[in-house]
Symmetry: C2
Subunit: 302 residues, 2 copies
């Protein structure tokens, strides 16, 4: 089975539009996101454009603060201080990576934890670790929604995560092993020596490394579920394609399910950000109501 996040993302967007309309009838202000942009990467520009579009499309607001390479860290920190106390701003995100002469961590830590809709402030990371999450980082939240949507029962089973980033692998390793999911969790990374023997024991594989088709020939468990977080753009013979970290074609016949790239986890990431923004603006929404289980039909690919 190929797992798609497109339908689920649309469901959640619809749900958020309803919640936003209801809240605004009751006098809540439209949620407003401030985006700090301090790098030269073309990919970042595309991501930011998509975030702003989705914000306005769903009835939220977004304001972009772009910095030139000559801007100092002091300038961006002064902006963050202003945004932290600006009552019209509910969420602040700093598009990563930032210019080398800035300090990404220092900026993330300067953002008020109550406006940190990316969930990357130490206080929010700590709350997540204590099973009291305020904002779950966007990609991990999207993955949890996808797993819930397809109703996989993973209680007590073994999750194998490849990639220890603080944005994906690390928070996911914590969330999956907590009481709600109760999974055994193995976290591996580029220095892991024996990860291939651990893969063979995994009921759930999450690959978040950023290397095209890294996973293809492994001995996977017959009924494994594979979530591919990789988005790798390659240019071959003048044609640009997007590849995941997993060679889906090779793996699909062997496993129970594998997520598409593109169209798997990707579409859920931005909607997860808007969900966090709605939370920050005081709209009543819960994680569980977002990912109501999929109703399967005959039209679904088997």
């Amino acid at each position: 089975m190929l797992l798609s996040g497109l339908g689920l993302a649309q469901n959640i967007e619809q749900k958020l539009i309803e919640i936003l309309a209801k809240g605004q009838k009751q006098g809540l202000a439209p949620p407003k996101l401030a985006i700090i942009h301090g790098n030269d990467s073309p990919a970042s520009k595309i991501y930011i454009k998509k975030k702003i579009e989705k914000c306005t499309q769903l009835g939220c607001q977004a304001e972009l603060f772009s910095f030139s390479p000559f801007s100092t860290k002091k300038e961006v920190l002064e902006l963050v201080s202003k945004l932290n106390v600006d009552q019209k701003i509910h969420g602040i995100l700093c598009q990563l990576p930032v210019f080398k002469h800035w300090d990404g961590n220092e900026i993330l830590q300067a953002i008020s934890p109550k406006k940190d809709v990316d969930g990357l402030h130490p206080e929010n990371m700590g709350l997540l670790l204590m099973e009291k999450p305020r904002f779950i980082p966007c990609t991990p939240q999207g993955i949890l929604w996808l797993l819930d949507f397809y109703q996989f029962n993973l209680q007590g089973k073994h999750a194998f995560i490849l990639g220890r980033s603080s944005i994906v692998g690390r928070p996911l390793s914590i969330l999956l092993s907590q009481k709600k999911r109760n999974m055994s969790v193995t976290l591996c990374h580029s220095y892991s020596k024996n990860w291939r023997s651990l893969v063979a024991l995994a009921d759930l594989l999450i690959v978040a490394v950023g290397k095209p088709h890294l996973l293809s020939e492994e001995t996977l468990k017959k009924d494994a579920i594979v979530i591919d977080v990789g988005v790798n753009s390659t240019l071959e013979n003048g044609i640009s394609t997007t590849l995941g970290d997993v060679d889906t074609q090779k793996i699909e016949p062997k496993v129970a399910a594998v997520s598409q790239v593109p169209g798997g986890v990707g579409p859920l990431t931005i909607v997860s950000l808007i969900y966090n923004l709605c939370l920050a603006a005081g709209y009543p929404c819960t994680q569980t109501e977002m990912a109501k289980p999929k109703v399967f039909s005959d039209k679904d690919p088997k």
Copy 2:
């Protein structure tokens, strides 16, 4: 090989005494710890007594604030607020568990993160997760010291941790998989279904469950290193004994090394607290200088 923490604890105490003497010559105040005690457990009383004794023995100060079962949560939170701004107090710890009508988490979160010498405040948990630890929780820090002391090279190897508590298993799973140690880490717990098959792949096993002799018959790797965090008091035929989570006698012939109970991790926990207290009071000490590698001699048990 049996791993003892006694000699290492003494080394670290000696080092701390020197650092404290030097700092006080330069005008630093003696570090002072405030201990909040709100439960009826006889074990807690013993732990607190040991902490106060070690404080004073090494040249620090400690003040105990004991509450009766009739004290309200409000009263203890008021005390925490006062201690947070009291310049004579450098560290605050709340002995867990607390009375049921209090909220342990709320108290931990009320303690100023800069005085949270147990390292359990969400901000400190988050900093740990971001590889910028301010205070490492005491038992995990003791275990890292023990591993460094015996010079085990664990880079890239597989650690298996049984027990997901926020005091031991959880922070340790994070610390071992970070860049300094680069281990693959599996975290299991009471709901894990397949943990015994994962144990067989582990180069390092850490058992922190609190069940006497839970681990004994497993298929362990021949050269595995086993760290036993369990402290289980049992009473048999009127004789009280302390048992670990591991049946050391059965396991020792099969593995490379196993930590003693008592006398393994235990002695390092309190000295780790004093180390954090010294850090909180501004004394210059680093984690690395504490656990200088052991110099092996012919007298060491093989």
